[in-house]
């Protein structure tokens, strides 16, 4: 079965951004520009955090609105990005209700999670898990 990332217990998140930096480091870079996972406060950090990550939808709306088939559904859930087909229209970003389609402004292209689970390995408080998709 294909895997995806899930936020197991969001109330345990401390906002350390280890997952975001891990996502960048996977491709050998520092910083945050291309991270496909985002953490922000739930209205001030005293109220805790929200983790934004692609949940690998069974029928992904981002793929449905892609005019060039750059985004296609992945078997079992989620999407696959063929960057060379992307025209940077941004429909996918609008379509995702979670805001999990991140954007790379220099390339003007979406950043799509590849469900590798690298970020989850660096979550110190077991907020994130890399698990098989069960429908």
């Amino acid at each position: 079965m294909p895997k995806r990332l899930s936020a197991v217990d969001i109330d345990r998140c401390v906002g350390c951004q280890s997952c975001m930096f891990a996502c960048m480091r996977r491709s050998g870079e520092g910083g945050l520009a291309g991270a496909c996972i985002g953490v922000h406060s739930a209205g001030g950090i005293s109220r805790g955090f929200v983790v934004i990550v692609c949940r690998a939808c069974a029928d992904p709306p981002c793929a449905r609105v892609c005019p060039t088939d750059a985004l296609t559904p992945r078997e079992g859930g989620g999407v696959h990005l063929k960057a060379e087909l992307c025209i940077g229209c941004g429909n996918c970003r609008t379509a995702c209700p979670f805001g999990a389609v991140f954007w790379e402004p220099q390339q003007n292209k979406p950043q799509i999670c590849v469900y590798c689970g690298y970020c989850a390995r660096y979550c110190p408080y077991d907020v994130l898990a890399h698990e098989e998709i069960v429908r």
Binding site: V14, C16, S18, G30, G48
Partner: protein
Amino acid sequence: MLPDDPLRRVLYIDLGKRKFWVEERPDLFERWLGGVGVAMHLLTEHCPAGADPLGPENPIIMAVGPLVGLYPMASKTIATFKSPHTGNLGESHAGGRSAVALRMAGYGALVIQGVSKTPIYLAIDGDQVHFRDASALWGLRSSYTVGDVLRNREPGAGERTIMRIGRAGEKQISYACVITETYRHFGRLGLGAVWGSKQLKALAISGRRALSVADRKAYRTTYDEVFKAATESDLMKKYHDLGTAMNVLPLNAIGALPTRNVQSGRFEQAETISGEHLAEQYLGRRLACAHCPVACIHLAALRVQHPKEPFFYKTVMLGYDHEPIYALGSMLGIGNPAGMLQLLDEVEIQGLDAMSTGVVLAWATEALEKGFISTVETDGVLLTWGNWSNYILAVRKIVAQPNDFYRALGRGVEHAASIYGGIEFALAFGGNEMPGYHTGPAGHLGYLTGARHSHLDSAGYSLDQKILAQGGELTPQSVARALLQEERWRQVLASLSVCFFARGVYTPEIVRKTLQTAGFDLSIESLNRLGSEILALKHTFKAREGFDIAQVRIPQRILETESPLGQIDETFMRQTLAEWTQLTAL
């Protein structure tokens, strides 16, 4: 430095002319790394000798180091300025998201100059700088509200920093702080007052970028080494588990917990304000600075009842640490944790430095007790040990400044005691109020000699405790040497802007390796040399502004109240200072 590293970019902002520009300064970062090295150099460049700390000529410098955005726990922003509190070197470090945000916005340093004619806040988003009107924010009762407002008006949720001052900063109380991300502070030496003098209410910074490394594979391997040491070894355990509040009980047990203005080193109610008790009864959430897996920020969830309604509560989340617990707890004889937390809440609302506030109030309490002042001076507030609700009233008055006495309190304990008497129990070192350790001579010598008169300069308190635990003897030579060695190495860490709590992880060898992947090839010897050079920059600045270690006052009280290492001997203190002077002159 790597050719595309944006660290080299220094953002200049002139508040008077409402102009900004960027200067590329690779020379500066190659030479001084970043963080405190660069911030000290920029301060020397831009702060004229004898500058009025609250005048337009005093610059606000903020800098970060090369490891920020690349490695965990490189999470501090170093601010330098001329301190309105001591009239000398101002240096303050804060975490939160400040460092990563500044680096991700594409800068290594920020220089804010001039004075705005009207209240203003700055919003920096990558290459854009917006000068936004803050006249509606000026005078807001609570510093928390400033954060709430900017959160809804500025971009970059999750990655931005929102720094702000409270009313204390607006009123230029000399120990007003700058608050960042609600729970972290540029606490000491009055950066908040400098902001207030420039009518700068807040500063939001956001941005998002990638950073290159010299060697991708080595980067990942070295990262894992640092990350593992931070999360799997015992090196960060103390900060991770109970947080810095875990110091309260051990310090009390050895008689080093400053109590009731250091009339004692033991507080009979230490248990109820201890890290253990707070964790058990109040700990509601843990938070981390950006890019730090340790999450040492401990928030107490304090349930406060409505003053009239019977079944009506609010829950306040308050960050606690050892220093505020000491300053607003044991130092004031407050053993009621809920009372202590409510006092801390007021200090946060006003935007004061918790440590200086506690020490100032402790002096005022003793001065009232001993008849140096009366309730005429305190404007009717009866300050007595443990009476936290009256201390809340006094905190409000320090900021509201209803009379000469509170105006004096608003300039620190040294100043207040110079007017009203009681200098022998005014606990300031080099003009800065005492930290929460009465461990022995080395601790106090650290406060006296440290460039910013902070316990974090050279950690003398840790030297005292080592001697207490392992035996041995302190000599003026050994103490002076150890303090200097520690302070020099900490200049390196602060130039990388690595959190000092991670000093056990960032050994010289790890520093060398991490820097190498960031494109800085430096030997351990050259790092050590750099540490000495940065400290020398600070000493030069301090001397230029009139600081003389031979003239420094040793508060009588610390010589009277026994420390864990026995009675502290003034001759020993003076001998160590003389030794230290000789070593720094070399």
